[in-house]
């Protein structure tokens, strides 16, 4: 019964992926890709990875989907296009591509299935020594304890993506999701919905942040929820794109990374090494770092969706 469900799920994943690649309409491909993300989250939940399912649904499907849809809109020609579009692949080209990707599938499938699970692994050691990390959730222990440098570098990746997007930024009126259609007032449901959803989202983010220490959740999921709120507020016009990054926004963008680095470097004096925490302080320090990281994840994602250097609030 369980395996039949997995079989169905895996089949669904592959069917959707094929449609994403082969579908004629680009819009269809984008929407199917988002659906694929949701199925992927389901598959990961099946594979005992609820944290990842949460992150994939929020970031991989949700935020990536929002970004894709807004880019899809921006890439639509205003009227009849002069651009003939890319040439269709000649038949031998498609055949060669199919052969090459088929070979990859065969080699990869054969290699991956042929691997014996090793008796000792980094993961087993992480579980055995989880108590030393100061948290009870294995994933948080690995992300903020044993392999903290990856997490630090990854938040820098997000900041760098924002900085890079500033280099290639479009003018403000074209940026992000673009202007809303002329002559349309705000839908009646928007304001009450926001009054309900925004406080609730903040509470959920706070809960996820706090619960990361002992169960699924943590800075990434909390940051993703906050970023989703940012996207919502930007789409409904509460947050307007701004041409410059305000000092407060700058501080929020780098604050989490600076805090993480500072605590990390202080570890050379207060604990055994850089990125080590003094034993008694490990949990509060990790919680402080995660709070900074949640902001350092949410703000650049919101700004990347907004396509602007900064944001400013507008009352409706």
């Amino acid at each position: 019964m369980g395996l039949a469900f997995d079989l169905l799920l895996a089949g669904g994943l592959l069917g959707l992926a094929l449609q994403v690649v082969a579908s004629r309409g680009l819009f269809r491909s984008v929407v199917l890709f988002i659906a694929l993300g949701l199925l992927m989250a389901l598959a990961w939940a099946r594979l005992a990875a609820p944290d990842l399912a949460l992150a994939e649904a929020a970031i991989g499907a949700g935020l990536t989907g929002a970004l894709l849809l807004s880019a899809y809109r921006a890439l639509q020609p205003a009227e009849e296009a002069a651009d003939p579009g890319p040439a269709a692949l000649p038949r031998w080209g498609a055949l060669a591509a199919a052969v090459l990707s088929g070979a990859l599938v065969a080699a990869l499938g054969w290699a991956a299935l042929g691997l014996e699970a090793p008796a000792a692994s980094a993961g087993r050691e992480a579980l055995a020594r989880l108590g030393e990390s100061g948290v009870k959730s294995p994933l948080t222990g690995v992300l903020l304890g044993f392999r903290a440098i990856d997490t630090l570098a990854e938040v820098v990746v997000l900041l760098v993506a924002f900085l890079g997007a500033r280099v290639v930024a479009e003018p403000l009126q074209r940026a992000g999701p673009g202007p809303s259609a002329p002559g349309s007032g705000e839908p009646v449901l928007t304001a009450p919905l926001l009054r309900l959803v925004v406080p609730m989202g903040v509470i959920v983010a706070g809960y996820l942040l706090w619960s990361g220490g002992h169960q699924p959740g943590g800075a990434f999921q909390a940051g993703a929820v906050l970023a989703a709120l940012g996207v919502l507020l930007r789409l409904t016009g509460r947050l307007q794109p701004a041409a410059a990054t305000s000092p407060a926004e700058r501080l929020a963008l780098v604050g989490g990374i600076v805090l993480f680095s500072a605590i990390g470097l202080a570890g050379a004096g207060t604990a055994s090494a850089v990125l080590a925490y003094p034993e008694a302080w490990a949990y509060p320090l990790i919680l402080a770092i995660e709070t900074g990281l949640a902001v350092a994840i949410a703000l650049p994602l919101t700004l990347l969706f907004s396509g602007s250097a900064g944001l400013r609030w507008r009352e409706r």
């Binding site: 990869l108 042929g114 691997l115």
Partner: protein
């Protein structure tokens, strides 16, 4: 307080990173002195790391105090120390040069500094990290800082070059990650040397190695995966071009050598070695021929990068031949250093030409030499090393590669080295002869329109001189390289 001694290893990553964050926080107006201070601090950390490696052998630093496979290890042996030092020299030059080059370009400067400083941090991380997944994150960091630098000009050509570069680099990263996933699935560790001990030479390891190598060869622009490099590297502003060619692309080559010699030595059969060496040789010849056909200065230098990135791969077929291994190893490692310094010098000199004239068309460079004497001199000096003539570091590196190839009885590589040098002379003299030609009647076409700040004139010259210094006095660098070298190569 264990291992406090090697603190300079993590600092080599953290100092430029924190400088970048401060530069972003404070904005462009405060950045010049800030970048300078951060650069000097980073150089100090690198110098300390190099000194430690030279005096005490390879240095390891366990981040968070967690030993591998649980934690991530930073590891500096002679090769990594040499790369750190070369990077520090080039980065110092780029930082000094960019301060003058971007002066008065408010927004461009504001955007350049954080990206460039994060790139330096990520490069140091790439050279130091002994963890395969951490390397993936560092590589992505390098890519995502490099592409915006390419796109900075914002015109059709540079945006197209950036887009192509980004897509290929992302595919390359994922191919690498796919290989790493297989390696972890088979060995249960991500630590480079533990993978080398545990992975063995079975079929799955071979698939993983193929994926990892394909990704890295794409990042290193090795033939036939080279097409993205020249448009990207010639579109960027000069200081960024220097960093991209001398450091970013070379980081890919460095990782190919690092992984094949430390993580997959069991797979390095003669066939595999000859295959990888053959790709390197094809890069040398193809890149050189393309460089001969360019009509602008920066593309000539960029195609010369494609050519020069191929040489270090010639080590792989020679590494298993006892008679050749040691010399080829020294040659390949020294080659990366020599190429980095010379190429950065050449790109910065080309930047001076562009800065003064507003263009870099070869046809318009006649009579340039008297006008831009320091820059043309720097270009010429750097080119002597790229050709591989004495007394430069480039000569020494090629000599070692050549002797290794002959000692190992693999003469085709020797032919490639000699031919590559001759071709480099060809495309180099084409540029230099034009610059030194008499100005056409009616005044020099190439009269500089804009005065060069002294810092911009001096930096390429200093880089070129460094190549001669390393050519005359190679013993310290080669002794450093011996620290922690694989036994077969030491």
């Amino acid at each position: 307080m264990a291992e406090l001694g090697a603190l300079s290893l993590p600092l080599a990553f953290f100092l430029p990173l924190l400088t970048a964050l401060a530069a972003f926080l404070l904005g462009a107006r405060q950045a010049p002195w800030l970048a300078g201070i951060g650069a000097l601090a980073t150089v100090a950390a690198v110098a300390d790391a190099v000194r430690r490696v030279a005096a005490h052998g390879p240095q390891a630093y366990h981040l968070g105090g967690w030993a591998p496979p649980l934690g991530v290890e930073l590891y500096a042996d002679g090769l990594a120390a040499l790369m750190l030092a070369m990077t520090a020299a080039v980065a110092l030059a780029v930082t000094a040069y960019a301060g003058a080059y971007l002066h008065g370009q408010g927004q461009a400067a504001e955007r350049f500094w954080p990206l460039w400083l994060v790139q330096w941090a990520a490069l140091n991380g790439t050279f130091l990290s002994a963890d395969l997944f951490n390397l993936y994150v560092m590589l992505e960091l390098v890519t995502l800082t490099a592409v915006p630098l390419v796109a900075m000009a914002g015109d059709r050509a540079s945006l197209g070059a950036a887009m192509r570069y980004l897509l290929l680099a992302l595919i390359a990263s994922l191919a690498y990650l796919l290989g790493v996933a297989l390696l972890y699935g088979g060995t249960g560790t991500l630590h480079l040397r533990e993978v080398g001990e545990l992975a063995g030479a079975g079929g799955p390891t071979a698939v993983a190695a193929a994926l990892v190598t394909a990704g890295l060869l794409l990042k290193a622009a090795i033939f036939p995966l080279h097409a993205w490099l020249a448009p990207a590297h010639s579109s960027a502003p000069a200081p960024a071009s220097a960093a991209l060619s001398a450091l970013v692309a070379q980081a890919g080559v460095y990782l190919v050598l690092r992984l094949w010699l430390w993580a997959f030595p069991a797979l390095l059969s003669p066939v595999v070695g000859w295959g990888l060496g053959g790709l390197g040789a094809a890069s040398v010849l193809y890149g050189s021929l393309q460089a001969l056909r360019q009509s602008r200065l920066k593309p000539v230098i960029a195609y010369s990068t494609v050519a020069q990135l191929g040489y270090p791969l010639l080590l792989l077929p020679l590494a298993a031949v006892p008679a050749a291994a040691s010399q080829a190893w020294q040659g390949a490692a020294y080659f990366i250093v020599a190429h980095g310094l010379a190429k950065a010098g050449a790109f910065l000199a080309a930047g001076n030409v562009y800065y003064s004239l507003g263009h870099d068309r070869l046809a318009g460079l006649r009579g340039l030499a008297p006008e831009l004497s320091a820059s043309v001199l720097a270009l010429g000096l750097a080119w002597v090393s790229l050709m591989g003539l004495p007394p430069t570091a480039g000569f020494l590196a090629k000599w070692q590669l050549l002797s290794g190839a002959l000692a190992g009885g693999q003469w085709p590589w020797a032919v490639v080295v000699v031919l590559g040098g001759l071709l480099a002379a060809g495309y180099g003299f084409r540029v230099l002869a034009t610059a030194h030609a008499a100005a056409p009647p009616g005044g020099p076409v190439g009269r500089p329109a804009r005065r060069l700040p002294w810092r911009m004139a001096a930096t390429p010259l200093l880089l070129a001189l460094a190549v001669y210094l390393l050519g005359v006095s190679a013993v310290p660098a080669l002794r450093l390289l011996g620290q922690g070298a694989p036994e077969a190569l030491g």
